[in-house]
């Protein structure tokens, strides 16, 4: 049972991820709607894993990844991207994100990716 921080500027997406994650028995401990908030909430909650949207206002998802990795190089971050954002995903992975999931979300792929990432961490 992992503690998850969900970062996405669309409440629609946050709700969807929450539903998927909670159905699997994990706990969503916080939500963030922009890059700044993502870093703030990470500092406050120290979750086991963060799902991070790539495109967000104020601070971008990639920037937020850098911010979190700076604070803790072992942080577990999964990027959420839309189709056609391969270059951005690459950048995010280079910045320290562990893996990525693609929108529209298939619940099974989301869970599989999360589990993979959490396993490696354990």
């Amino acid at each position: 049972m992992a503690r998850v921080l969900v970062a996405d500027d669309a409440s629609f997406m946050r709700q969807m991820i929450r539903e998927i994650v909670e159905a699997e028995g994990h706990e969503v401990v916080g939500e963030a709607s922009d890059g700044d908030e993502a870093v703030e909430e990470w500092k406050r909650l120290h979750p086991d894993v963060v799902t991070m949207d790539i495109v967000m206002p104020r601070r971008s998802g990639i920037d937020a990844v850098k911010g979190i990795i700076d604070l803790d190089s072992t942080a577990c971050i999964v990027m959420c991207s839309a189709l056609g954002q391969e270059t951005l995903v690459q950048e995010a992975l280079q910045a320290g994100a562990r893996d990525f999931i693609v929108k529209p979300f298939k619940p099974d792929s989301v869970i599989a990716t999360l589990n993979k990432v959490l396993e490696k961490d354990a």
């Binding site: 500027d9 669309a10 629609f12 997406m13 709700q15 969807m16 539903e19 979300f105 619940p107």
Partner: protein, 541 residues
Amino acid sequence: MDLAKYRTIFIEESTEHFAEISRALLELEKDPASAEAIDVVFRMAHSIKGMAASLGYDSITELAHRLEDRMQIARDAGRVGPHEELSLLFRGIAALEGMVNAVSEQGEAPMADTDLLADLATLAPSVPSKKKDPTGAEAAATPPGEAPAAGAKPLQTPRPPPTVRVNTRTLDRFLSTVGEVILNTSQVRTVSEAETGQNTALSEGLDRMDRIVGELQRRALELRTTPLLRILEPLPRAARDVAERAGVRVEVQLVGAELELDRSILDRLSDPMVHLLRNAVDHGIETPAERIAAGKPAVGRIVVEARREKDTIRISIGDDGSGIDLEAVRRRAVEAGVLHPDLAADLTPEQIAALVFEPGLSTASEVSEISGRGVGMDAVRNTLESLGGAVEIATERGRGTTTTLVVPITAAVQRVLMLGVGAEVVAIPIAKVERIEEYPSDKIERTGGDAFVLLDGDLVPVLDLAARIAQPSAAAGRLTHLVLTEVRGERIALSAERVASQQQIYVKPVPELLRSARALLGLTILGDGRPMFLLDPNQIA
């Protein structure tokens, strides 16, 4: 996973996104290099795309994706392309909105227009890239036409304040319950007044209850109010659309949009406002050439201003266009049989202007596709009057026209005058009551079907309320009460047997079954449990 609730969120969020996109696009019209506005449109399109993809609305996803790509180009270039580019974006957004509405109404997203998709896919040729310019020269960054004037401040459309989203049905049920509490409190008071006698503790308790319930009522009414911004916000963009089709240029300024109004009233003002705005752009504002010839700036100016005045809010739409051709109105009124030719000469300019509200008077161009939509000026007036308000119009040939909607602040609680008519008790809104006079009923002049009295040197028509609501009239030789009021600018007297008191009552909407009776504005439950109807003098006359 249950996707039904996500559909609702999708529609709600998309609606908010569209409002933000509109603001941003209008900003980009004035400042094509606004990085913030470009970012907003990009992110909103991206967000709508994401949601649509999650729900399987492929056609919406595709259109949003194209728009997002377009905005990505703009982001890279540091600016949006010239006029045609913005028009294309507006078109794209309008189409996207249409598709989301279709989902909301029919549950399915229609296919996107293939021409639109093709247009969106063609690369914008004249957007110079900010990044790679080998010659190092400041490439033709200024599009043909005028550059934005140095230091020009874009007209800021106000941002709505932070809010909490509440399900409207929940809110309505809550307010309805509060209304019941208020009605019940006064019932308890009526009953207990008979019983309390010398019981001061009970009396004091009831007084306290009155005060607290009054406070609850005030708070509940506050919940019902929403800033006017909600209906005013779409106006600048609607004006732009109409202006483009009409071949004129126009700028809309919103003043006082932070004022609040009861939600149910607000919703009914939306259509009239759009209609008046369309009229202003379509019939009021002249073409740039005409304007310059008349010594006016090429861009027409429309000011939408909301002001609070005691118990009402006045929302005016004023343009600096050509004004109404009163002669043409007078002529059409006579032609249409609305005005007798002999009377036509005697009318004041205000009275002629008021004729535009008469049904059947639409000039040919008013029925055109642009100003159509089945909402004529007569419908505007009807709507306002059914809300207990009015419409005023002032015009000056060559200078412009201003139409003002006068709206009561809240429909729910109104001050009314209670009248006894036969066995019934009815109420009329007190706002328009000038005064009440006792008058011997046999002194009322009757000719044909009409009745008159001479008051203050004027002949004032008298309406027998009893006859109007099928109650026995007052017996002859008795004194009757004449309630002097105003209907459509004309003074009339409503005759009623008894005048009870003035009261503030909580007005409930007329039940569905009775909606077609236009004379009924609402109803309330009296202290003794009887229902009492609120009548609309405009409809009874």
